[in-house]
């Protein structure tokens, strides 16, 4: 569960990136976050990961108040959250297998269980034959699937994706979105930031629209991509 209460975030210079955000996402939901460039979507994601601290307000994730969390508790907290970025952020000097295994090594899983788990997620994202390839030998869609496998390998209860299809063509975008939907069907809460109107309109999910640091609409299942409305505002 994700809960934000009157959250503000102001970077050192300029206007607030988030201004009075209150939001509740239940366990097992699939949520799109849309909005124009600079509306504060990435900032919101970073707050949920405790990569940034809010200037004001309260954030709870998985029943834990991030403001009260000690520094040394942060790693364990993050292990419950999978994260996917627009630019994949794979390690270029490691092959597919090692990129995914890395996420398990980082949390000090024993090698034996890593060897069992990595092929499972690779199959889940449909990349089991490519486990030896290096990132530069893969298409964008494939790289994003590796990144997704890495996010899933530790069995997170929440998956955050910041423009996961931003660098992909429509076909690959759809494949990634379908995978995210599958992940969600297995019980993981999924929050997807996207600019992809076609997909948002087709997938019939909850849609939160942001503009200039505020939530301007929050539609339950069957939401539509309205972000463009606010361009002129």
């Amino acid at each position: 569960m994700i809960l934000l209460e009157d959250v503000n975030k102001t970077y050192s210079q300029g206007a607030p990136a988030l201004n009075g955000i209150s939001l509740k996402i239940e366990k097992g939901e699939f949520v799109f976050i849309v909005g124009n460039s600079g509306s504060g979507k990435s900032t919101l994601i970073k707050l949920l990961l405790k990569e940034l601290e809010p200037t004001k307000g309260r954030i709870c994730v998985n029943n834990r108040d991030l403001g009260k969390m000690k520094r040394r508790e942060v790693p364990r907290f993050r292990r419950e959250i999978g994260i996917v970025f627009q630019d994949f952020r794979l390690l270029k000097d490691r092959n597919v297998y090692d990129n995914i295994a890395f996420a398990q090594k980082v949390i000090e899983k024993p090698t034996r269980s890593i060897k069992k788990r990595v092929p499972q997620v690779l199959t889940q994202v449909g990349l089991s034959e490519k486990y030896k390839s290096f990132p530069k030998e893969l298409s964008g869609g494939e790289q994003q699937r590796v990144a997704l496998a890495r996010a899933l390998v530790n069995g997170p209860s929440i998956l955050l994706a910041d423009e996961p299809t931003g660098n992909l063509d429509p076909k690959n975008s759809w494949e990634i979105m379908k995978l995210l939907e599958e992940v969600n069907k297995r019980g993981t809460t999924v929050v997807v930031v996207t600019h992809n109107r076609e997909i948002v309109d087709a997938m019939q999910k909850r849609v939160i629209t942001m503009n200039k640091g505020v939530i301007v609409s929050d539609e339950e299942k069957g939401g539509h991509y309205y972000a463009d409305k606010y361009v002129s505002l």
Binding site: P75, F77, L91, K105, V106, I107, R150, A151
Partner: protein
């Protein structure tokens, strides 16, 4: 720590070193120089201390009595002996009776030709010359002890050689201060270079570190490869000069001895094994220590995790 995590840290540490060859070699070189000089200083200082200790053992104070005849004043001499021994700076005393003094004199001056002494018959020309030889715990305390002895009742004369004692101990101190100074400077340079090497490793892996943090790596897990890197560099840097020193130590001693053969009579160098029994662990510890501190500094400065 899990074995697999330790293995990971070592593998990453080695990878960092390989990736960053030039700086790693520079750091290894500096540490090698540092430990090499340290080793040389250590060898010189321990040998010097050893020589000074030997020399100091020979520096003694001789005390003569107002009433110096053993046969008549034995009890008085023993009483004075107890007073001297009670002084905390005195290590030991040795009594030389009038007869022993004369025997020794004969031995030194007449040698084999005992007949020369026969003229004296049973008379002991040194009948009044019983003495105590006083051994000191610390050569620095000589003047205090001399003053103490002169102040005792029943003492006629106190013989000592001030100049040797003070020159030796002053020289020892000076050598100590200079080597400590140079060693500190070298340590600082070593730490500085290692921390720079690690800093480059950190900056090269910035992206990877960022990803690690986001997927829940502990600070400890993120840092340990860099600590391993520093310690490995330190250990390699220390091993090279230790091996080198081990093989050249004996050669150098041999060389010094043959070049300055006059030294042989009063200088006695420590054997290789005795020196290295201590120098190897110290050298490795210092190498690893420089690496550890250097990496810690760099991590603290550049790895705000």
């Amino acid at each position: 720590m899990r074995i697999s995590t330790l293995a990971y840290s070592i593998r990453q540490g080695l990878k960092n070193i390989r990736r960053n060859k030039l700086f790693s070699i520079a750091s290894i070189g500096t540490i090698a120089a540092c430990v090499f000089l340290l080793g040389i200083f250590y060898a010189i200082v321990t040998n010097f201390t050893h020589i000074v200790d030997n020399a100091e053992e020979q520096i003694t104070i001789t005390v003569f009595f107002t009433n110096g005849n053993t046969e008549e004043y034995k009890a008085e001499h023993e009483a004075i002996g107890e007073q001297i021994l009670a002084n905390p700076d005195v290590a030991d005393i040795k009594y030389t009776s009038s007869q022993e003094a004369w025997d020794e004199y004969k031995g030194v001056y007449f040698g084999e030709r005992e007949e020369l002494a026969e003229g004296f018959g049973d008379d002991n020309p040194l009948a009044n010359s019983a003495s105590y030889t006083v051994y000191l715990k610390d050569i620095d305390k000589q003047s205090e002890v001399v003053a103490f002895l002169k102040g005792l009742d029943g003492i006629r004369d106190v013989n000592y050689s001030e100049s040797t004692a003070e020159t030796l101990s002053d020289f020892g101190k000076l050598a100590g201060y200079i080597s400590v100074g140079i060693i500190i400077i070298l340590l600082a340079v070593g730490i500085f270079l290692i921390s720079n090497t690690i800093m480059i490793g950190i900056s090269v892996r910035k992206e990877e570190i960022g990803i690690m943090k986001l997927i829940g790596a502990t600070d400890y897990f993120v840092r340990s490869p860099f600590v391993v890197e520093g310690v490995l560099i330190g250990l390699v840097g220390a091993t090279i000069p230790l091996v080198l020193l081990y093989f050249i130590y004996e050669k150098i001693i041999g060389y010094v001895m043959s070049q300055f053969s006059t030294l042989q009579s009063f200088i006695d160098f420590l054997p290789t094994n005795q020196i290295f029994k201590i120098m190897i662990p110290i050298g490795l510890l210092i190498g690893a220590g420089i690496g550890f501190i250097g990496s810690k500094i760099s991590i603290r400065k550049h790895l705000r995790v």
